[in-house]
Amino acid sequence: ALRPLKRRQPKRTNELPQPNKLPGIFDAVHGSNGRQVCRRHELYVSFRDLGWLDWVIAPQGYSAYYCEGECSFPLDSCMNATNHAILQSLVHLMKPDAVPKACCAPTKLSATSVLYYDSSNNVILRKHRNMVVKACGCH
C-alpha cells in the first residue's frame, strides 16, 4: 500500500517540487493510479509439480520470488533505488520517449541447495547461487 502524501509549505529553493505542487504529473505516477511500487512477490518452484521427485531427494521445491512494480519518481526509500535510478526516473519524467523508467529488479540474491540422484545412482549435492530473490529495488 502507498503512504498518503504530506502537505508542506513551499520553499524558495532549487529543490525538486513536491508531488502535490504540480498536480497531474507526479500524482499520476506516484501511486494514486493504484499501481504498486517495486517489491518482492511470491514465486514457488515446485519440483514435485514438475514430476522430479524420482531423482530430486531434497528439497521438494523452493521459493524463488520475483520483482515487480513501478519505479516512478519520486522513488520511495523502500524501493532500494540507486542514485542513478532516481536520476533516470526524473529524466524519464522530462523525456519519457527518450529515457525509460528504472527497472524493478532483484538487488540481492541468495543460493539454494539441491540433493539429487544422477543417472548412475550417485548422490549429488550442489549449491546453486543466485537462485532466490532476497530484495528488490529500482535500478
Binding site: E42, Y44, V45, S46, L50, W52, L53, D54, W55, I57, A58, P59, Q60, G61, Y62, S63, S110, A111, T112, S113, V114, L115, Y116, Y117, D118, S119, S120, N121, N122, V123, I124, L125, R126, K127, H128, R129, M131, V132, K134
Partner: protein
C-alpha cells in the same frame, strides 16, 4: 524430504502449460541447475527399500549446506563442507577381499566409478567412509587402518599402491570411519581413464593382519562404504542461446 523455506501460498493461481511448453520449461530449469538433461536413476529393488548410506550421509551435508544458503556472503562456512559447493558421493561397484590362506582377509579393495565427475571441477577434499562393526573380543586392542590408492595392477606381482591415510582405533569401536583420500581424487582427475581403486589394510600393533567386516553377507545397504568428493564448482558453462 521437504527443505527449508516457506510453502507456496494457498490459492496460488496456476496456469496450464502445453506439453511442449512444459518440456521446454523443464529443459530451461535443468540448464540453470547445470544439468544437460533430466537424470534417470535406476529404481532400487523392492527388497532394498531401506535408506542407503549415501543418501543419509548426503542428507546431513545437504542440511548443513542449506543452512548457509540464505547469505552467500556469510562468515566461515559449515566446517564439514569447507569451501565446497558441490559434493558427489559414490557407492562402490566392486568389493574384493584378499586372503593369505588364513581365515581373515589380508586386505579389502573397493572400486568406484567416478566417470560422472564433470571435467574442470576443483577438488577441495575427498573422503572414504566405511562402517566399523565392534569386535566382541579383545575390545581394547589397538588397530591401524591404512588406506592406499591402487595406481596400477600387475598380473605377475603386487599392484602399485599410493599411500593415502592411516588411522588408529580400538577393536571395540563402532561407527563410521572417515579416511582422507583427497590425494587419490586429485590423481584420478589427472587421468580419468579407469575406476578408482581404494585398498584397506587392517593390522594390530604387532603387525598381525585382521579382517574388517565379519560375515559373508556384507554390510546392510545403509552401511555400505561411500566415497565422497568435495568440489569448489567452476562457473556454470555458457548456456547455448535459445
Amino acid at each position: 524430504g521437504g527443505g527449508p523455506g516457506p510453502r507456496p501460498p494457498p490459492g496460488c493461481p496456476q496456469r496450464r502449460l502445453g506439453a511442449r511448453e512444459r518440456r521446454d520449461m523443464q529443459r530451461e530449469i535443468l540448464a540453470v541447475l547445470g544439468l544437460p538433461g533430466r537424470p534417470r536413476p535406476r529404481a532400487p529393488p523392492a527388497a532394498s527399500r531401506l535408506p542407503a548410506s549415501a543418501p543419509l550421509f548426503m542428507l546431513d551435508l545437504y542440511r548443513a549446506m542449506a543452512s548457509d544458503d540464505d547469505d552467500d556472503d556469510a562468515g566461515p562456512p559449515e566446517r564439514r563442507l569447507g569451501r565446497a559447493d558441490l559434493v558427489m558421493s559414490f557407492v562402490n561397484m566392486v568389493e574384493r577381499d584378499h586372503a593369505l590362506g588364513r581365515q581373515e582377509p589380508h586386505w579389502k579393495e573397493f572400486l568406484f566409478d567416478l566417470t560422472q565427475i564433470p571435467a574442470g571441477e576443483a577438488v577441495t577434499a575427498a573422503e572414504f567412509r566405511i562402517y566399523k562393526e565392534p569386535s566382541t573380543q579383545l575390545v581394547n586392542r589397538t588397530l591401524h587402518v591404512s588406506t592406499f590408492q591402487v595406481v596400477q595392477e600387475h598380473s605377475n606381482r603386487e599392484s602399485d599402491l599410493f599411500f593415502l591415510d592411516l588411522q588408529t582405533l580400538q577393536a571395540g569401536d563402532e561407527g563410521w570411519l572417515v579416511l582422507d583420500v583427497t590425494a587419490a581424487g586429485d590423481r584420478w582427475l589427472l587421468s580419468r581413464h579407469k575406476d578408482l581403486g581404494l585398498r584397506l589394510y587392517v593390522e594390530t600393533e604387532d603387525g598381525e593382519a585382521r579382517g574388517w567386516a565379519p560375515g559373508s553377507s556384507g554390510p546392510p545397504r545403509s552401511r555400505r562404504p561411500i566415497h565422497g568428493h568435495f568440489f569448489r564448482a567452476s562457473p556454470s558453462p555458457g548456456r547455448a542461446p535459445r
